[in-house]
């Protein structure tokens, strides 16, 4: 075991410092990347840059503005009439030509590439327009009319668990779609024996890594062969390939899926392009022409994918010294509207390491999965780990707090001991290597924890809010394809057949000039796979780094791949690079066997170095590698008898310890487990509640480091994601299910000003499981950092006697609410002038609500008459251009509403109900436009007074779809303005304008301007 520090500034980058001896291996060196030249000069080709076939149609997708609604009908005649539009595809086409996606649990829920008769989340695809350009396709989208009947939305885990919540999938009957309990060891006895129990309850929000490049699909259908050819920046896992093929009603061999040479990031997210692969395949088939779709950012944020939200409760049985004897976990996972493959993987990915880095032999777990009216979830850096460790490490922190111990000591006391490695966890994982305690002590030393503590004490003495947090986690990598089946019962698993392993593939070939190429199915997304593979294979053949050419664009029709292929679960360094080494080594062995005769030595004694092949006994008498390697192309006749030319070798490698779940539900969910220990210092500004990360130390043991420069890049990138998760990012929804984070001005990805540079420390305990000893490293900080920061916040707040940590993301507003004293009350003099203040918006319940009241010099009968007169009503409705009677007291209205230049044309249903003349009525309205949906209810009561009538109104309104997603910041004030306009106009028409004239409210000023003060 070696200990190295590669803190950011100390890495020696090749080419900066003198090159090491040519003979020294490339693996382990900080090689700059072969990928970079193309990326830096702009010549790199991403999916949207690749040429398209002539006649290609461009797709635009119509998406639901509703969180939950019956889909009544779609009228797209006007869209088809737009010049340049070739076709409009709807759920009816999907029903005719495609199938539903396979679902990972046994439950009657169907998910299609287009909504069939119900929409279940904002942004769900409802129809596709195919046109000559994206611009024209979007023009036509605006002309499609869809009728919806809104259903009550389910917008939180607790709501989903409520008895009466509207089931998203009526055939399932409940929004709790799966529940399983597990028991390992003797937890009841441990709880009975323990000195006390400590518990935490936490919720983890929805967020996503949002790669800078959105989804791209180019699809073509060959009717003669009934085959699809699709290019997409899909990242894998290719376990989803059969799901796509099934949904397209073809065998896998007839879905040829290709990936582009470059991809603009994924972090797991590009797994979720798969429903669109199917959708665009369907579109190409319907249109009979190739189709291209480029997701835009609004679509991505609204509906691409999300990490799961999780509610977690953990009880720990603890001894007085902080030793944890047992855990009782309850996890409830919000998977969104559909259980989309490979979900519910988020919940089970860490099943083998539920006890983290700790030696806790007794465990019960209850896992529940709920569906909500939100975007379906999927792969996202950290996949389930951020959620799990947020609970577990908050718990360890609580244990320390409640027992009055140092949190670091509680961690120390519970870590798995080095002697116990490989350590079998309660739930069946095998922690493969590492000395966690020594690693922690090294971090404490090299990261200067003592100095940080001194700094905290000094700042606290000045009255500042400063805290230190810790987190220790294991980072799983190379997922066992079988872990997902832990969601099934042993009986169900027996029926379905065993699933396990993590098949990695790599091919190594020599060309006629002796050049070496490597092909893998790892679908890289910017991590530098080509560089690392060149390092690995150059070492095997004793060649120069530049001599190895690596291809990572994949073609399922031609290349070797398996269901485990792809870019996820940090499997590259361990599995894919390992497979490449295996393939190269085998090829080298075959070449050695062929050349041994020529070199007069045994095959075992053939050496490859410096571009030469020679006998160990006679290094000076070498043959050139290129000549030897190419011989199979040029002169197969000279090969020793019966020997096959050594031109290409494909290796399939699966880690040995990955078995299917046992009947007792033990599962080793990943092949290797790295260890991370983090600590940090944060300061909270007393005035603004803003949090500043003062120092962050992150210590990693990720096994053998193949390229420290790239490892550092992975850690820095993961750390930045984690800072976003902890402090900024959330896919926010209103109570009414409207989505609020549709732009990068609403979904807050941290910038260079928000991400500090952490101090990175390393220790290398090679994995005994992988060929190169490497483990995954890219996801760890997404697991450790959010909770480390939260623990630091807990420490900082504890100094002020606050025993609570806000939910993620920890925003200044949430912190301020905890550290500021109760708000001083509104002074009497500030309660507006003499008139009623503008309607106050009361948040909570469903969307926006407000109320107001006003005296008018008219009788209740006169006011009543105004309300019931369609002409008057038309004048009251903001932006009403036409109002037609549609039934008794029901109207169809054409309204153009909005604020400033932002206007939408709505066809609205307006109705008056609960008529109690001349005392009260209810006015409802709802409509959709290209901008989104809006609905509102107003209760109006009329009360006779000495001088006229008191008109009182209460309203609630909600706005959904695009305008809510991108205009969240101004939505409330804008809606209030519009609704207020209606009632103020009513008052004005009833003769109450005089009262308005002297009020200085914004509305009255506006109305005066609009001529309503007569």
């Amino acid at each position: 075991m070696t200990a190295t520090q590669t803190a950011t500034q100390t890495i020696d980058i090749e080419g900066v410092s003198p090159p090491p001896l040519a003979a020294s291996p490339f693996v382990g060196r900080a090689m700059p990347r072969v990928e970079d030249a193309a990326l830096l000069t702009g010549v790199a080709r991403y999916a949207d840059d690749l040429p398209v076939k002539p006649g290609t149609l461009h797709a635009a997708i119509l998406r639901s503005p509703h969180a939950h609604a019956d889909l009544l009908d779609i009228n797209f005649a006007a869209a088809l009439a737009v010049p340049g539009v070739a076709a409009v595809v709807t759920g009816a086409d999907a029903k005719r030509l495609a199938g539903a996606f396979l679902v990972g649990i046994r439950a009657p829920m169907e998910h299609w590439c287009l909504a069939i008769d119900r929409v279940r989340h904002v942004g769900e695809p409802v129809a596709v327009v195919l046109a000559d350009s994206r611009y024209v396709a979007e023009d036509a989208l605006d002309r499609i009319e869809v009728r919806y009947r809104p259903l009550p939305p389910v917008t939180s885990i607790s709501q989903a668990l409520e008895e009466g919540s509207e089931p998203l999938h009526p055939a399932v009957g409940s929004n709790l779609v799966n529940s399983r309990s597990f028991r390992y060891g003797a937890p009841e006895a441990a709880f009975a024996r323990a000195a006390r129990s400590v518990s935490v309850e936490v919720e983890y929000p929805r967020n996503s890594c949002t790669p800078m490049e959105c989804f791209v699909v180019l699809a073509d259908y060959d009717a003669a062969e009934d085959a699809y050819e699709v290019l997409s920046n899909f990242s894998g896992p290719f376990a989803v390939h059969p799901v796509m093929a099934r949904a397209l009603n073809v065998p896998g061999s007839r879905l040829r899926l290709k990936t582009p040479p470059h991809s603009g990031g994924s972090f797991g997210n590009k797994q979720a392009v798969f429903p669109y692969v199917v959708l665009m395949g369907l579109c190409a088939r319907v249109a009979g022409r190739p189709v291209k779709w480029v997701e835009d950012r609004l679509e991505h944020l609204m509906a691409a994918t999300s990490a799961t939200a999780r509610r977690m409760r953990i009880d720990a049985a603890v001894e007085p010294d902080g030793r944890v004897l047992a855990l009782r976990m309850e996890q409830t996972e919000d998977c969104g509207a559909y259980l989309r493959a490979p979900e519910p993987a988020s919940l089970y990915r860490n099943h083998g390491n539920l006890t983290g880095a700790y030696d806790i032999p007794n465990l019960t777990v209850t896992n529940r999965i709920v569906v909500t009216n939100k975007t379906p979830t999927g792969l996202n850096r950290g996949f389930g780990g951020g959620q799990l460790y947020y609970g577990l490490e908050r718990l360890m922190n609580r244990v320390a707090a409640e027992l009055g111990l140092d949190p670091l000591d509680v961690i120390r006391r519970n870590l798995v001991a080095a002697e116990a490695m490989p350590y079998r966890t309660a739930s069946g994982g095998t922690l493969d290597s590492g000395d966690y305690r020594a690693t922690l002590e090294q971090a404490v030393r090299e990261g200067a924890l003592d100095a940080l503590k001194a700094r905290r004490d000094a700042l606290r003495a000045e009255g500042r809010l400063y805290g230190i947090g810790y987190a220790a986690v294991v980072e799983p990598s190379i997922s066992n394809m079988g872990y997902i089946t832990t969601v099934l019962t042993a009986e169900e698993r027996r029926k379905a057949g065993p699933k396990n392993g993590a098949q990695a593939t790599a091919s190594v070939a020599v060309d006629p000039t002796g050049g070496v190429s490597v092909t893998v199915a790892s679908a890289p997304q910017g991590q530098g796979h080509r560089t690392v593979l060149a390092q690995v294979v150059a070492d095997v053949f004793g060649l120069r780094f530049e001599d190895i050419r690596v291809n990572t664009d994949l073609d399922t029709g031609k290349d070797a791949w398996s269901i485990a292929s792809g870019n996820y679960s940090s499997r590259f360094a361990g599995a894919v690079a390992g497979a490449a080494q295996v393939a190269a080594t085998r090829l080298r062995g075959r070449i050695a066997a062929l050349v041994a005769g020529q070199l007069n030595c045994r095959a075992e004694d053939v050496r490859f170095a410096g571009g030469k092949v020679f006998s160990d006994a006679n290094p000076d008498n070498g043959l050139s590698f290129s000549r030897v390697a190419a011989a199979g192309h040029w002169s197969p006749g000279t090969l020793p008898d019966g020997q096959e030319a050594a031109l290409r070798e494909t290796a399939f490698w699966t880690p040995e310890p990955l078995k299917a779940p046992t009947d007792a539900d033990h599962i080793n969910s990943s092949a290797c487990y790295g260890f991370i220990f983090d600590f940090c210092g944060v300061e909270i500004d007393r005035t603004t509640g803003a949090l500043r990360i003062d120092r962050y130390v992150t210590m990693h043991d990720a096994g053998r480091l193949l390229n420290p420069l790239l490892v550092e890049g992975q850690i820095l990138g993961g750390f930045a994601h984690a800072v976003g998760t902890a402090l900024y990012e959330e896919y926010a929804y209103g109570d009414d299910g409207r989505f609020l984070s549709g732009t990068f001005a609403d979904y807050l990805v941290p910038t260079a000003c928000e991400v500090p540079v952490p101090i990175i420390l390393h220790r290398e305990s090679p994995s005994p499981v992988t060929p190169l000893g490497a483990k995954g490293v890219g996801e760890g900080n997404c697991m450790s950092t959010p909770v480390c920061l939260a623990n630091a916040v807990a420490d900082a707040l504890s100094a002020d006697g606050v025993d609570e940590v806000p939910s993620l993301p920890i925003t200044p507003a949430k912190l301020a609410a905890l550290i500021h004293p109760p708000e001083p009350p509104r002074p009497a003099s500030a309660a507006g002038s003499e008139e009623t203040p503008p309607p106050a918006a009361v948040k909570g319940g469903r969307g926006l609500t407000g109320e107001g009241s006003r005296e008018v010099p008219a009788t209740p009968e006169q006011v009543w008459a105004i309300l019931l007169d369609p002409k008057e009503l038309a004048a009251l409705l903001p932006g009403c251009e036409a109002l037609d009677l549609a039934g008794p007291n029901a109207y169809r209205a054409e309204v153009v509403v909005g604020i400033g230049p932002v206007k939408g044309r709505y066809t609205a249903q307006v109705a008056l109900s609960d008529l109690d003349p001349p005392k009260a009525l209810t006015l409802t309205g709802s409509g959709t436009s290209a901008l989104g949906s809006g609905s509102g209810t107003g209760h109006v009561t009329l009360e006779r007074t000495a001088t006229g009538t008191r008109v009182t109104y209460r309203y609630s309104a909600s706005v959904g779809g695009k305008v809510a997603a991108v205009g969240g910041r101004m939505l409330d004030s804008a809606s209030r303005l519009l609704i207020g306009q209606f009632f103020e106009k009513l008052v004005a028409r009833a003769g109450g304008a005089e009262g308005l004239a002297d009020s200085s409210s914004l509305l009255t000023r506006l109305l005066r301007l609009l001529g309503f003060n007569r």
Partner: protein, 176 residues
């Protein structure tokens, strides 16, 4: 900005000739008035080096220089660029005898990019910015970089690369 001769109204339905000097070479293409400069460069002129990440001005991936000034191509119409000099990432090494510039080389050395999707925009901002402020402090530099989102690197390599070419040292961790 040079005053230009009046154009008559360019109608929505027609494609209009748009002539620019792209990385030193005069190029002409055609555009409807509503065509974004980012789409014009990428799909009309085939200059794919400029990337598109949000089309609402926040991510910075599409940043190009118009008459030397770094701006968002997604918030510019192609017709607005008519008659202007546009510089994109493809021009950097072209203008340097085919070799990568010192800044590009520094990006490579310091692993300032992973997927590279944000990189072109950042390079174009930097070339304008460093012309105006050749030796920024780290704080100034980060302030400028806040106009770009990078999801891969955590920005550390980018900052280091720029500080390296401008000959300034990076504040790694100033405290403790």
């Amino acid at each position: 900005m040079p005053p230009l001769k009046s154009t008559s109204v360019l109608t929505a339905e027609a494609r209009h000739a748009v002539s620019i000097v792209l990385n030193g070479t005069p190029r002409t293409g055609h555009a409807h008035p509503r065509l974004l400069l980012s789409d014009f460069l990428r799909h009309e002129l085939g200059a794919h080096g400029t990337r598109v990440g949000c089309e609402h001005g926040v991510c910075g991936a599409c940043t190009v220089r118009i008459d030397g000034v770094a701006v968002r191509a997604c918030l510019t119409l192609a017709v607005q660029a008519d008659g202007r000099r546009i510089d994109t990432v493809e021009g950097l090494s072209q203008g340097n005898e085919g070799r990568m510039t010192a800044l590009q080389e520094a990006f490579r050395r310091h692993h300032a990019l992973q997927c590279g999707f944000c990189t072109a925009g950042i390079l174009m901002s930097l070339t304008d910015y460093l012309d105006r402020n050749p030796k920024p402090t780290e704080e100034e530099l980060r302030d400028m970089l806040s106009g770009h989102l990078c999801r891969c690197t955590g920005y550390a390599g980018i900052v280091r690369a720029v500080m390296d070419v401008t000959g300034r040292t990076v504040r790694e961790v100033a405290h403790v």
